[in-house]
Symmetry: C2
Subunit: 345 residues, 2 copies
């Protein structure tokens, strides 16, 4: 029995998964199978050369009991941008969207009820050829897994400005959701955690002068009443939460500045208490308030107001997702309620 | 039937493989199993987050018919250095070495005879937990595959100095044989191939002013009679072929300079015909002579003498590997000939 009151993140899977194979230059027929292990060769290309990309998005149970996915087409587009950079064949839109809808209809009852719960959706692509030579795979698998999930972080986080390790570089794959970016971040993150931090704030690869992202989230900071976030670049993942928040704030005529934030500027502003809020933005945690900013030997407290901008933005997003307010931006992709359970194995 | 005269690289596997699992903080008992698919969950951590590292080395059939591995302890040490950077538990030496010896003894007959043939050995480590959240896996698998292999490239290669894409950066994982480094290199390599090149010469992440590596090989260039290769750094894989060649040349008092080679210096020297040879160094191809150097719109021819330094070095290495000369550096790790085939499944 799944305990929906204490859902971990990404550990519980629904009854089904979607699998589609690419072979001989073509995508085959997508298949929906019972979730479970499949036979894979240990010479599986992706295990050796990391030719793999993924996505993460969520389906919500609205207050009227129906199910809706938040901006799946944005994730579809990003998956294919990631795929291109990793020399993986792009997935046709109908395979992605129709497969996703089929799968969620089948596992409709798995979408949890509750403000902080959702169905995490993990589409991914991996190289599946059985050879070990450092060139692109010949065959690939597109797969979608579904995982009912609770909140990612709970509470606010302590972040450390990282000046030794990097997540990405110009000319690299930081803008892609490439598997290897994540594994490479574990070690520096662990070091920061050993110092008592929750996450790292990545800085640029050249001089560590520019603020980039926070762990696996985009970063926002309100300095002197202006919402600031680094502009997108090849080094930064183009977050859909970030984009949605920018859209919301623009719509409300909130002062916004997308562009470079130097470490120096941020630290100075934080010291002078001109930072009214700072937070990470991403699908998993939605908004992750930052309470402490570590810079070298200094730890600066950052306000985490209950009724600040981040709380407002979070409420706006939640209201749209749960169908409590009108979806003026056309973000919710409704899933038709299945009349009865299909008798699919 | 395996056609040993036309062996591809990394496509044919021997009868057995070694598998050892890490769970609950401990490595279990290594097992030797028939080579073949094993059940894996699509939520396999390594497929999503690229927490995976590998090694590559070779066993040779000596002229006396016995089998010997080239410097396996160097690969063992490097595997664990890679593992550490990727927050993967290191493999105990006895599991690695004893497992390797057991496995090769069992598949002894698979080690091919012939100057250009060898048994490619692929030890690797991957994250095997069944969850999708961006933090280190709880469980891991150590595996060794064996693949009788022919030469990797045949003939000399055309390389292009890459000024747009990067393979690694300071603070990154370039020094580790992390899976994601390889998948990330496919796209820029494909672009170079579309321009008629075989491989890329990587340059540094800051300004593209420094020569780093060539594809998945370390690079060497003989300028004004001096053997030049970039010094090791966090951005460069510490190749065992490179180290062996440096050792050989040092032993022969050949003039060597390990240190920065700028793009400018290399291109100028090549134009002025002061480059007498240039080549890649790595386990797969051993030595890969470079015949053409592409820089922006220019293609400069590089000599590929039949009796030059690279040919000499290659012969020295081959003679040691095949047991034709004394192994003065203690590089060969002999495998005891099995008396009869064990009746292992
Ligand atoms: C590196 C990185 N930055 C930012 C984000 C946020 O993106 P999104 O809002 O689309 O989830 C993610 C993914 O969640 C990420 O992996
Ligand atoms: C990036 C890279 N550089 C260099 C090398 C050469 O190392 P080695 O001589 O140990 O095979 C390799 C591996 O083969 C590599 O992957």
């Amino acid at each position: 029995m799944v305990d929906f009151d204490n859902l971990p993140f990404g550990k519980v899977f629904t009854d089904h998964m979607l699998i589609c194979e690419y072979k001989d230059g073509n995508w085959g027929e997508p298949e929906i199978l019972p979730y479970g292990p499949i036979p894979m060769t240990p010479a599986l290309h992706a295990l050796h050369y990391g030719q793999a990309v993924f996505e993460g998005m969520k389906a919500y149970r609205k207050v009227d009991g129906t199910v809706s996915i938040f901006r799946p087409e944005a994730n579809f587009n990003r998956l294919n941008r990631s795929a291109e950079r990793m020399t993986i064949p792009t997935v046709p839109k109908e395979i992605f969207m129709d497969g996703l809808v089929e799968l969620i209809k089948l596992d409709y009852d798995w979408v949890p009820f509750g403000e902080n719960l959702s169905l995490y959706i993990r589409p991914f692509l991996y190289a599946s050829s059985e050879f070990i030579a450092a060139r692109p795979s010949d065959s690939y698998v597109f797969c979608i897994l579904l995982s009912p999930s609770g909140p990612y972080y709970s509470g606010s986080v302590k972040v450390k400005i990282e000046e030794r390790y990097v997540r990405s570089a110009d000319g690299g794959v930081g803008f892609a959701k490439a598997a290897g970016n994540y594994g490479a971040a574990f070690y520096p993150t662990r070091l920061a955690q050993q110092e008592g931090y929750t996450q790292i704030i990545w800085t640029d690869h050249k001089n560590h002068h520019l603020i980039e992202e926070s762990g696996t989230m985009n970063i926002a900071v309100v300095i002197d009443g202006v919402f600031r976030t680094p502009a997108l670049s090849e080094r930064i993942l183009a977050g859909i939460t970030r984009d949605s928040i920018l859209t919301l704030l623009n719509d409300q005529n909130f002062p916004i500045k997308e562009g470079p934030i130097t470490v120096d500027e941020l630290v100075t502003a934080a010291r002078e208490k001109r930072v009214s809020e700072m937070f990470g933005m991403g699908t998993a945690a939605v908004i992750s308030p930052i309470s402490h900013l570590g810079f070298r030997d200094e730890v600066i407290e950052i306000p985490t107001p209950d009724n600040g901008l981040s709380a407002l933005v979070k409420k706006s997003l939640t209201d749209i997702r749960l169908g409590k307010v009108e979806d003026t931006f056309g973000w919710m992709y409704d899933i038709e309620k299945p009349v009865q359970h299909p008798t699919y194995s």
